[in-house]
Symmetry: D2
Subunit: 302 residues, 4 copies
């Protein structure tokens, strides 16, 4: 199992246009299966499937990933609270002195494939409620630039652990190619997730995925971008959230200016009226914001 | 005109249950009316209507504001870019050395009341596009605690310039009462706004409003809260956005625990799966996040 | 007692050049005197002495405060830890879920005026150690601009609770005049303090002060500035610390450019080699950074 | 040349107690030598010397690096301003729309070894001033944990580009060992630097260094720590500065508690009175704070 986005021998090679059918373990390597299981069973977080070598991909190109289909591989998902990880508790990077920390907890979510729901079951009461599935990949990315290798816990310019619900079937993801073959990885399937992933986990599931790859030769992508028929979506990834927002919107203004022809100030003004901000997660080492706009508000593409 | 939330002689007194019909100027005091007008005409930002004294309101109570109806008062709105204000340019509180700053700009938005749209008209091209109206009050709040008086540019615990689209017809707002009579103010009507209000303005309009007031005696509200039939929504207001998110979600966890009976950890976990984050603005001196959850995911209210 | 920087009837009027001898209570209103005393005795934090009306001061001028002499008024100081306040624990503006918060604590510091030391006495052991005195005013400022009134807990453009050790005898402080007479306040004497005031208090003491006032007519000061024979020092006050640093250094670059004639880029480069950063406190609602440079590195003043 | 901290074949092997004499290029690979040279000559930033394999070092140990001697290797240093890098201009991670960015600039600093000074020479005037040398290593660190490889621009738990003047002769640095042999690297010599390294560079120089290594077997170091006869110093490395401060002080409180026996709350209080904060740089992808206390304020080491 791989736990790092970086240069490694590819597990398979694909050509642009090829379709990949593959699967991934859940973020705990499928180690948590039943009440009583504990984190000590987990060998590493976010095991990755890959890397896949995309023929012809060279640094400076853009890798295009069409997310064709994502299916939960199994009958339950898992959610966890782990001390030191989360948006409103003391963490590794926002440490606090405290008399006593919150304890480790695990929730299991039965999944009903027919009605496409997962069921939340409270630990401290008998309360249950159904949650509609929204399946996506928490981890999706390529080998980083400059010879770096990054933990599968980290999102950054190369994608990675973006925990973005935008990485779902029907959307297309653009990623920078930093090394020959791009070296594409994925993992960390999610059956559903709230904004911010605030307690530190989604409904974590193994996943069966169908993806198709393309290349845009000679076009560099600075930060990950999503697109579908209705929207263009630019990711900004850093800390604090303020900087993630700044990255996402300077990218989106630049995108609109370059591809749709509005001046930068007109694009800035228009986004101030119709732009959307999605804070996908505020728990990983970097935070992720997706800024988007509906295409119906933009001029025809140049 | 008043430009400060604070203790001042009331313009009128209302009893709980009373309905208030009143209007407000736009955030520029209606000074910008046609191409060629400039910021030098503006006497102050965010002129406020009020304060209104609510009979029986005492410190420690909660003021309940039902937003019954909001109508744009006029045929156009205005949007502006003002150097030193905005989410992705150098500002008063995030200053930067630069060779040359972006210039001041003003956009006018014709409003069609029948079809409920405003029209964006690009300054640097002939592009136009219609935007559906979503009418709300940018400024809504009460006199602050501890003898403070705060500029109508600032949002904080007392509400104020939250620029929250949640302050729209059909929603109810809960605010802390800090002084006798609460001293309620409103202003800064918006016809529509993107998340983050990133270039520094919404579609700014004069507004006609119908509000109804209630009191919850002896119940303190720490930060503003919105509610409607479908959702509960807690505001967090500070800088950086990270802290606004922390405030909003600790409030929401506490609200669910107190009123709906889930344990704090169960509430935290559930929100990690179905919670929503709305970054309403990232341009005012404090930033505003509204964290929310649909009631259908919660147990019956206690 | 006053707990707000704002417009209020002056307690005295002084002319430029006049010397003021006055005293202040400690930040707890002298309420904590002996082991066993608790926070319930405290009527308000940071009681202020003032306001003093400076004849001739008008908005747009700069008030010059020469700190001539500061003496601890009494034989002991006090330090406290208060849940919800501090740099490395959950706070009002950086809230965290926790199983159990740290408890309230009070330390008393005997002061030896002859040897100019205060003695730290551990609560959980018999350890004691002497700390050299460095006496300064935690609160020093004027009425804010735009009709605001701000809590004496808050530092901002008008000065206020800067907790800056630079507010000590021998230094001069420049503050913006926002209202007629400036309306000067002070309080919150400190006998000594570590950088960041991280646990939320200094060695808190009543103070006897001797100050002299001057005016620079028609010269606006954006943010507080300190100066002595050897250094120029610009304060930046906001959150996160990053923005406080940005404010302080853009101010310092501008100061060097305007008064000492270096180009902005030469000043920026020189500060990158010899500039100093002092994070005075990271516990109040806004954080305070003082950026400074020794005059020996600057060209002759223009 | 290596530009990454990570697992790589060692250039040499040393035993604990061994002394290493080696040298490093400046941060531009010595490419900028005279007026007229430009950044296009630079092949990569922060070339590293190493890695050195320390015999017996295993994950979970602490590597001890005694900085015995550092000498500037040459007769000049260089300082630069590069658009997109710096504390008070738009950057890669804090991007801003601007009409026109500041231009690239290079300053050369003649070094006088006898009087131990470097001379700042303004570009836009004839002003010159001498700056005392304080020689240190900007980059010093080991291979990261979890199979990561990190750019030599980045500081993190493994040390790296901390730009800490504490990495100077007479000080000892403790680093976590993450891989067999630790794999120690250094580079990026600085002849002098201001706090924050605000314009993005120090006085950049090639360096001759003499280092001695030791191991503390079985003792893990979470974040880099410095020590000398007079002080203990804990580094905190992240963004925003607030979090770097939180990391540094929770480390320092823990250090004092573990090695000097004060309770955590007594240590917190004592640091609030005598602790020091050094913001070494606010320009790299992560920011670095060193929190310190003089040993004279601590009980005898346990």
């Amino acid at each position: 199992m791989k736990y790092v986005f970086g240069a490694a021998p590819p597990v398979a090679r694909l050509k642009p246009g090829n379709i990949l059918d593959a699967n991934s373990l859940d973020c705990f390597g499928n180690a948590l299966q039943k009440p009583g299981d504990s984190f000590s069973l987990v060998k590493g977080d976010n095991p990755l499937t890959g890397p896949f070598y995309i023929e012809g991909a060279e640094p400076g190109d853009t890798l295009v990933v069409h997310l064709l289909d994502l299916q939960v591989d199994g009958k339950q998902g898992v959610g966890t609270f782990s001390p030191g990880f989360g948006a409103i508790n003391a963490t590794h990077y926002t440490p606090m002195l405290e008399k006593e920390a919150l304890p480790e907890k695990i929730w299991f979510y039965p999944i009903d494939h027919a009605e496409r729901t997962a069921t939340f079951q409270a630990l401290d009461s008998s309360y249950k409620v159904k949650i509609p599935l929204h399946r996506f990949l928490g981890c999706i990315g390529v080998a980083p630039a400059n010879g770096e290798a990054r933990s599968s816990i980290v999102p950054a310019e190369f994608g990675g652990n973006m925990d973005a619900p935008e990485a779902s079937a029907g959307n297309t993801l653009h990623l920078p190619v930093n090394v020959a073959g791009a070296l594409f990885y994925f993992g960390d399937g999610h059956a559903a997730m709230g904004d911010g992933e605030i307690a530190g986990s989604a409904i974590e599931v193994p996943m069966k995925v169908r993806l198709q790859f393309d290349l845009v030769k000679g076009r560099h992508t600075g930060w990950p971008r999503f697109e579908n028929e209705k929207e263009i979506m630019a990711a900004g990834i850093y800390r604090p959230v303020d900087d993630a927002v700044r990255i996402a919107f300077t990218e989106l203004v630049g995108w609109i200016h370059a591809d749709y022809g509005l001046s930068e100030l007109d694009a800035y003004e228009l986004l101030s009226k119709v732009g959307k901000i999605h804070l996908t997660e505020m728990v990983d080492p970097n935070y992720v914001v997706v800024a988007s706009v509906e295409k119906k508000y933009l001029p025809p593409k140049k």
